[in-house]
Amino acid sequence: MGEWWTSVPTETSIGNYDISTISHVTMSPSRQNNLVSMYSSVPLSKSSYSVISAFCTEDNIPHCILYINQELASLGLSSTCIEASSPGGAGLSTVPALNAMYEVLQIHRRNMCTLEELEKEQLKKSSTLEHIQMSNSRLKDQLELSIREKSGLHETERQLQLKIKTLQNCLKTEKDEVQKLQSIIASRASQYSHDAKRKEREAAKLKERLSQLLVDRKDKKLAIDVLNCLGRSDGKRSHWKTVKVTASHEGEMYKSLLSDYEASQKSLLLENTELKKVLQQMKKEMIHILSPCRSSNRGATANDSLEQVDSDGEEKTGDCSRETLDQSCEHAREQLTNSIRQQWRKLRNHMEKLDSQASQAQNQLQSNKELIPRETHEDEMERMRCEVQQCREFIHAQQLLLQQQLNTSFDDETAALLNDCYTLEEKERLKEEWRLFEEQKRNFERERKNFTEAAIRLGREKRAFEEDRASWLKNQFLTMTPFTDRRRCSSSDGQSALSIRSEPEMRMSSTKAELSKSSTYATFSTPKPSQSAGVPSTNELYRMLRLIPDSSSSRHSNRGHWRESSSIEDGDRLAQAKNRVRSSDLSIFSLGEDENIIT
């Protein structure tokens, strides 16, 4: 049926009205279709002939009827079907045809209604859909907005947190400072209160004392009570206080201040000259260091070298001229420091260049054996040190082994024998020494005995001597004449001194010459070899005296060194001991020495 409808507009033989209705039909498939269908139903009836006549003609009426019955059956209207009025006739039975038409119209009306409803539904649905879409988009926008807001709020919250932290830190530091200040204040306060209390106590004491004094009234006068005035510590007299004196005091004070300033200035000058010398030295050395490098450095240092030549020249002349000037001149000082700075800068630049060169070389020529990087150099050093240590240990071990080898070159027996020999030798030596020691001891014992005997004898003799002296003095006193005796006595003074010290046999002869001078007895115990008289006994005396100090001194050394074992000294001492034995008569004098030395 659809096909049939579409093929209709191609027939333009239908009238204008028809074309318009057909165009209406093609234009509006929807609402207007109903109207059009209403409108078209009326003209359709008019033009139905033309339309239907296309479908049904006089010839194919039964076919049409069949076809229409089939269509009706398919629509569900099987009950009504069209019949022909007469078989093979061109007419149609009206009643079934009308019923069929009526049915078809009903069906059509129903369809229209449902179509309308459906269209209404569709409209509604489309409007709700639109509505929903709009609200959806609106909500999306809202969501985005709120998300942005949230992130903004997050950001502000973070910043505020940060601020809180910093403020907390500040608060903490402030609190600490407050604490510190509080502690300071506390200590100061305690100090103040302590001082205040002390002052208060003192004031109280003052008040008390004042009241006591006012009550007491009998004032103890202050006074000084000295036995006698002392002299001044420096022995001079004290001066009156005059203007000259005060001026002199001022002068003294200024003098001492000035001398102190001068001394400090001198030392500072010395220091300055020293430092200047050092700086000069440094400068010279730096110039020296930089100058040979000039030839090795090329290119970039050409300018430097030129500069250097100039500055060198300038400085050399500068030096010559400056050194003649006073070194403490400020200009010279500045000159020196500037030149030092310049040189130092050059040296530094040079060092930096060298460093960069070295690093470059290191990077590029790593494999080059001449430029050894620092680490390998250090490793090498370590290795060499270890080697040296090992070698040393090895040598030490070798030495030990060699020593052992030498020591145990014999087998065990001979080694033991040798050791025995050594010990035997030592034992022999020790025995010898002990023997000598015993002998010496015996000698000394003997001597000591002799000395004690001599001392006893001496005591007795002394007593006898005293008695003799007393008697002689008495005689002398009784028989004294003014001049001659005294002269004789004085001339024989020296003699008497000697004779007293001479041998006991001679003592008897010299009793006459004894005087009551205590000095002579004092010289009894101290040997005075300088006393020279023409008495032959003095030579002997000298010899004796020389012997005696020698022996006593050697005895002293003996006392100190019992253990000395050299045979030469032994022989010496033995000889001396023999001497002593021989000179037992002289023991008095040695005893005297002894006494003197002991006391």
Binding site: L181, S183, I184, A186, S187, R188, S190, Q191, Y192, S193, H194, D195, E202, K205, L206, R209, L213, D216, D219, K220, K221, L222, A223, I224, D225, V226, L227, N228, C229, L230, G231, R232, S233, D234, S238, H239, K241, V245, T246, H249, E250, E252, M253, Y254, S256, L257, D260, Y261, S264, L268
Partner: protein, 385 residues
Amino acid sequence: MNFSEVFKQSNQLCKVSPDGKYLATCVQYRLVVRDVSTLQILQLFTCLDQISHMEWSSDSLFILCAMYKRGLVQVWSLEQPDWHCKIDEGSIGLVSSRWSPDGRHVLNTTEFHLRITVWSLCTKAVSYIKYPKACQKGIDFSRDGCYMALAERRDCKDYVSVFVCDDWHLLRHFETETQDMGGLEWSPNGCVLAVWDSCLEYKVLLYSLDGRLLSTYSAYDWSLGVKSVTWSPSSQFLAIGSYDEKVRILNHITWKKIAQFDHPATINSSKAVVYKEVEKRPAVVNDDLSLHNITIGATLFNTQSKYEICPLPVQIPVTKPDPDRANPKIGVSTLAFSSDSRFLATKNAGIQVQSLSWHCSGDSLVLLGKEQLCICYMDTDQEDT
């Protein structure tokens, strides 16, 4: 080390004469003079009351004995034991007494520091000095004995008066820029006077002999300040010990700080060597005490102690002072230079050392603790200061 027998003394008054020949000790009211080498009693003097202070004159000929309660000073002569001198301050009282450098004048400070009376033993004359200041160190004599510096306070201001010791002539009188002067000290060369403030303010002022202010030094504000000050023997350095446990050294040319030393409780510096005394006491058996009584006595005296080097870091045992009290026991309290100015010995107050002093040759140091005596020898080959 050998020790002599124990001699009695009172008030810790026991001094050797400046020439080193005699030793004077005070026992209650008696003054005993002994010979230093033989410790035999040479002289015995009796004073009128218990002796509070005793001092040798600079020429070792006289000894001053002060009795503060009675206000009396007695001077005794060694050459002439019969010579006597008695100074009575009367009702004005006596707080301190000292010799002048020439050994012929006695300076008495009266009670409440009302005045200083200068008594001359040569002329029996009296001079008065008014308004002396009562502070840690108010009087100092220069080393050559020519000048005396005295701290004064008038009208709530501090002054310094410089007197010529010859005739007690006032040479200079100038005001100092201190709030409350704590003390003053001459430099050994007698040309500079160091004046410091009380502990409430850290301020050290340096005045030249003629009263000009040379320099001021202040290390910090507000905290407690200077505790002790000492000059080096060459007058080149001034060491200042303060309550913050640091020592600062100024040089005499610019009067600026050249060095600062800390006293940390833990020693960590690689240059420091710490010696620790280790005592080996033989164990005492506790059960048979009756039998071991004698041996215990012997073993206690046989404690051997030796010094061993402690590995760093070392914690020094320090007693914590009470910070709330006035004049707290913290800070550097004692400073002493060795005689060649090479070494500086300092003592921080928490350490239990009573006194320290250098030998005059400058290479050994004696430390006196409560129960111990320690002598330290410096290795003079080392270069470290």
